[in-house]
């Protein structure tokens, strides 16, 4: 781990996590992932069905290892509790996050499908417009404090860090 990231506790890998299998290369591009989500949500006319689907996506989130369910991995600025961690795997960043609230978990699932397992450049070049296109624009409002803004911020900060790091050590 380079010195540039040492001051960020979210980069520290707890001992119990040392042997996590490296995820496979993504099957779809970052653009395809967004288009697919937009298509999936486009299937529902009713807001209730959209929420139901969002909640189902959240329920399928992989569980967070206990080692990460600590205060230092908790995101500030969310009304519900959100634990978030970003790890570098080769040239890609892999994010894990969970929440104790179901809708927030669904929003996490959306973000991870698009932003996790991508290169820092891909992450930084991708605006979260797909959230608006799937009819959840409300949640993007910074005053909603539902964690989406905080999570997007954390994802981008992590990507910027990794990007600057690779620029220094190509």
């Amino acid at each position: 781990m380079s010195a540039a990231t040492d001051d960020d506790p979210r980069q520290e890998k707890p001992d119990s996590m040392a042997a996590v299998a490296e995820p496979a290369l993504p099957e779809e591009t970052i653009r395809e992932a967004q288009d697919e989500l937009i298509a999936e949500f486009g299937f529902f006319d009713d807001w209730m069905d959209r929420y139901q689907y969002l909640i189902d996506l959240g329920r399928k989130l992989p569980t967070m290892p206990d080692a990460y369910l600590r205060d230092e991995f908790k995101l500030k600025g969310c009304q519900s509790q959100v634990w978030f961690v970003g790890e570098r795997t080769g040239d890609r960043l892999v994010f894990r996050a969970v929440s104790d609230a179901a809708i927030v978990s669904g929003l996490i699932a959306l973000l991870l499908r698009v932003y996790s397992n991508r290169t820092p450049r891909e992450i930084l070049e991708t605006e979260p417009d797909f959230i608006i296109e799937i009819g959840l624009a409300d949640h993007l409002s910074p005053t909603r404090k539902n964690g989406l803004g905080a999570m997007l911020g954390a994802i981008r900060t992590r990507a910027r860090l990794a990007f600057e790091e690779s620029a220094r050590h190509p």
Binding site: W47, M48, Y51, Q79, S80, D100, A102, N146
Partner: protein, 408 residues
Amino acid sequence: MSARFDVDTARKDFPILSKPVRGRRLVYLDSAGSAQKPRHVIDSVRDVYENDYANVHRGLHYLSERASARYEEARETVRAFINAPEQHEVVFTGGTTEAINLVAWSYGRSVLGPGDEVLITCAEHHSNIVPWHLVREQTGCVVKAVPVQDDGTFRLEDFARLITERTRVVSCFHVSNVLGTVLPLRDIARLAHAQGAVVVVDGAQGIVHLPVDVQELEVDFYAFSGHKLYGPSGIGVLWGRAELLEAMPPWQGGGGMIDTVTLSATTWADLPDKFEAGTPPIAQAIGLAAAIDYVSDIGIDAIARHEQEVLLYATQRLASVPGLSLVGTAAGKASVVSFVMDCAHPHDVSTIIDQYGVAVRAGHHCAQPLMDRFELSSTARASLALYNTTEDIDILVESLEKVREIFQ
């Protein structure tokens, strides 16, 4: 005071209530967060700016005198509303938070020393915890908290046990913003006074739901906000007994609060100006007086009776929602209803029912120690005001059924 209160007539006084939210009737159940405003308040604020506005206590010109007169009339309206003995005991602040900070910084720092005790309760709003923690850092005092029972009641014997000869200040709510519990202030004040301690009251919720007579309560300070009492935001009140306020040093310096200033020394103005440094919230104070006139015209007793009827209905209807638990069921509680559901996080509950035009608060309600006590991270809270109806409760309960459908 009118004996009969007609909620449908009263609702027409609040312009925002007739504006649909997401195409539906607005069911506003977040008045403990901030109440909506009647036209009478909105008009009075506009009237000040259109007819009588200038800085107060500064100019000798016509408009300054008009504004000063209306500002001081507002002080008298507040005095009469809480039956304070003297007008100059009423200090205008920015809100309850600033009022409590004033007491903590001015009174607390003057009288507290190492080992002296400040007694709060475990259900205080952060604005009645953090100021005392800050003063603790400066003075070395000790902050203790009275525990709460499972149903949200507080036992007077716990106050009796925890108020000791080291207690200098007892600072507690009148009505809990989460539990709705009403504290027996006069009994607490008598215990405190017997040990030589003063009683500071966070009346942010109490002033809205109960008749407040500071002399009858026998407390020493009573703080409240305008915006929860149907008045403007940015205005609050600290009432304090004159002999205490007179002995207290100012906590903020500036214009308006001085008698004389030389380059080496300042002498203070008399009460209440000593505590009103800088240009005060002029139109907001006048708007608060309009809100008090509005509430007094209906009658705070009539409002309380109406709220209690809707509270009883809400308690019964919510009890019938499977998997829903009420947090805070003390006898004689005010119309603040916190609850949790076994199928969904409070954040999820409020997001879903918002789609039905129902506004509740979800979160820790700035009372994290209380959440810890009940081992909750947050609750949903429906708080009732004079304009809420049983129909609002029906819509709330229907929307909670939808929550169950979605999350089961």
